[in-house]
């Protein structure tokens, strides 16, 4: 898929989404779902950029989101930083943590990165609840409850009035998507394709695998952390329950549906999954059970996601073909 086509698809998707408030503007529930779709589409896209394009098996995406959310909330609550600035600071914090985590493991094989980043995810909840966490203002087990909303040019984006907030989120999502598409289209994208084909070859060409991986890790952590901060100011409260495995799996479903490395599949996956997830709300405690089962079915039935399926149906070629012969 070339860059122009990606931009075209994204323009169509976001253009259609921009029109939706005309029809659903009256329903706060639907507007809330749409805002969530936009927020998670950024998180899922970042994950796809790092996993599908850079080939780094990071499992710390939710962790960076939560780090950003807490960081921005703490900056604004405890230090009085205006939320519009604190979200950027939160991105910087997430990027710094990302680089710190990535440094020891990016040189190693894929599985290590997955496990270390997942360990970050697992350690985050106990950290936020601990005395150390409380000392930096995480609110411990109780979490944070009175996070101020975002204000811009004297206007305050309250979550009670979803339409202005929706458009603000849309602008942020479009900017993030443009950045991601630019990265995929730039020489970074080419470098990553080379790296995936053969790391030795890429090294011979002077592509420093570690440097590129670190840069993309920092960038996606930054965007994820920033949108995390944004999310915190929207919902107004945070707790460590977000680090439960069901949210992680929900995010994973977005990518599984969209197809890994099939951007903008992840965006569509996010819209689809958030909607399904909201529709599952009435089944209550069976929701995670259904999510788990969905992963099994989707991964087995659609190893390259819906986009991959459509592509193979229309025989458009594309990556992610069968692995082929068993021996070299």
């Amino acid at each position: 898929m070339d860059g122009k086509r990606r931009i075209l698809i994204m323009a169509v998707v976001f253009g259609l989404v921009a029109l939706l408030p005309i029809f659903f503007g009256g329903s706060k529930v639907i507007m809330h779902i749409l805002i969530m779709c936009l927020i998670w589409s950024v998180v899922a896209s970042c994950w796809d950029l790092i996993m599908g394009f850079a080939g780094i098996f990071s499992f710390g995406q939710v962790a960076f989101f939560v780090i950003g959310a807490y960081a921005s909330a703490i900056f604004s609550l405890r230090l009085g930083v205006p939320p519009i600035i604190s979200t950027f600071l939160a991105g910087a914090v997430a990027a710094a943590v990302g680089v710190l985590v990535a440094l020891p493991c990016l040189r190693l094989k894929g599985a290590y990165v997955a496990l270390v980043t997942f360990a970050v995810h697992m350690i985050l909840a106990p950290f936020l609840k601990s005395n150390m966490g409380r000392a930096i203002g995480t609110g411990g087990a109780q979490g944070l409850l009175t996070i101020p909303p975002i204000s811009l040019f004297g206007y305050t984006f309250q979550n009670a009035e979803p339409i202005p907030f929706f458009y603000l989120t849309l602008v942020v999502a479009v900017i993030c998507s443009l950045i991601i598409i630019l990265v995929i289209m730039s020489h970074w994208g080419t470098a990553f394709l080379t790296l995936k084909d053969s790391e030795d070859f890429a090294r011979a060409l002077g592509v420093s695998a570690l440097r590129y991986k670190l840069m993309v890790f920092a960038l996606t952590s930054f965007l994820t952390g920033m949108i995390g901060g944004f999310y915190g100011h929207y919902v107004g409260m945070l707790s460590t329950r977000m680090l439960g495995i069901d949210l992680f799996v929900t995010l994973m479903i977005m990518l599984v549906i969209g197809g890994v490395g099939q951007y903008p599949g992840a965006v569509l996956g996010a819209f689809f999954t958030v909607t399904i997830n909201e529709m599952l709300a009435p089944v209550g405690s069976y929701r995670p059970l259904i999510l788990g089962a969905m992963v099994l079915i989707l991964v087995l039935a659609l190893p390259d996601g819906v986009v991959g399926l459509i592509r193979s149906l229309f025989n458009l070629g594309g990556r992610g073909a069968r692995a082929g012969g068993r021996m070299k």
């Binding site: 082929g324 012969g325 068993r326 021996m327």
Partner: protein, 234 residues
């Protein structure tokens, strides 16, 4: 013993073998010659179930074995001996040999086959407890052949046994292959280096660009001008 009819093989988009017909009679040494990268190894691996995307018929003892798994073929008596040895590096010589007798057909004969292999390769008997990874190239090659013999196979498919060996070791390997053949095994060998190997061949095939371009006995090959041009550079 082995009959191949209209065999085609593919690596992804590449059509590696085209309409191969060949026959390996029981008790003979058949040599398959050809330049590097023209599909010799693929043909051998197709016979042994190591390349799965094949079309056509491979008949072994009258039975169609196309598409069967390697583990099944090994228990039926077809064993592949790899050009790059494919030993188990952190196991001893003896353990490597034992695994050669993994198939159910071979397990009951483990002891007698070990004795047979050690008589054939006295050097391996001396090094029973040595790790495979610490062996020299020549010893490793011997071990690979010996491990193949442990499977009690009727048909041995040997992939470039002389690759990377010094001339005197090559002769040694060829002598052993002839010796094995005398003990009643049918052998299909792939080689590039013809003058030496041709001397022990009952029948020779030449594979070029995925097609059989020549077949006949060794006199016919050695006297053919075309063959001399290709392989001896004369």
């Amino acid at each position: 013993m082995l009959k191949i009819e209209k065999l085609n093989a593919y690596y992804g988009e590449f059509h590696v073998l085209e309409d191969i017909n060949m026959e390996v009679p029981r008790g003979q040494v058949v040599v398959l010659l050809g330049p590097n990268g023209h599909g010799k190894s693929t043909l051998l691996k197709s016979i042994c179930g190591l390349v799965r995307s094949v079309k056509g018929n491979i008949l072994y003892k009258g039975q169609n074995i196309t598409g069967m798994s390697t583990s099944r073929l090994v228990s039926m008596g077809i064993t592949y001996i790899a050009e790059n040895r494919e030993l188990f590096p952190f196991m001893t010589v003896q353990e490597n040999l034992k695994l050669g007798a993994f198939s159910r057909a071979a397990r009951p004969h483990l002891k007698e086959n070990l004795d047979m292999v050690f008589t054939l390769f006295p050097r391996l008997a001396e090094r029973k407890k040595q790790l495979a990874s610490t062996m020299s190239g020549g010893e490793g090659r011997m071990l690979a052949i010996a491990r193949g013999l442990m499977s009690n196979a009727d048909l041995l498919a040997v992939d470039e046994p002389s690759l990377g060996l010094q001339p005197n070791l090559r002769l040694e390997v060829f002598r052993i292959i002839k010796e094995i053949n005398k003990q009643g095994k049918t052998i299909l060998v792939v080689e590039q280096n013809i003058p030496k190997i041709a001397e022990m061949a009952d029948k020779i095939y030449v594979l070029e660009e995925g097609m059989i371009t020549f077949e006949g006995d060794k006199e016919k090959v050695l006297s053919s001008e075309h063959m001399k041009e290709i392989f001896l550079g004369m």
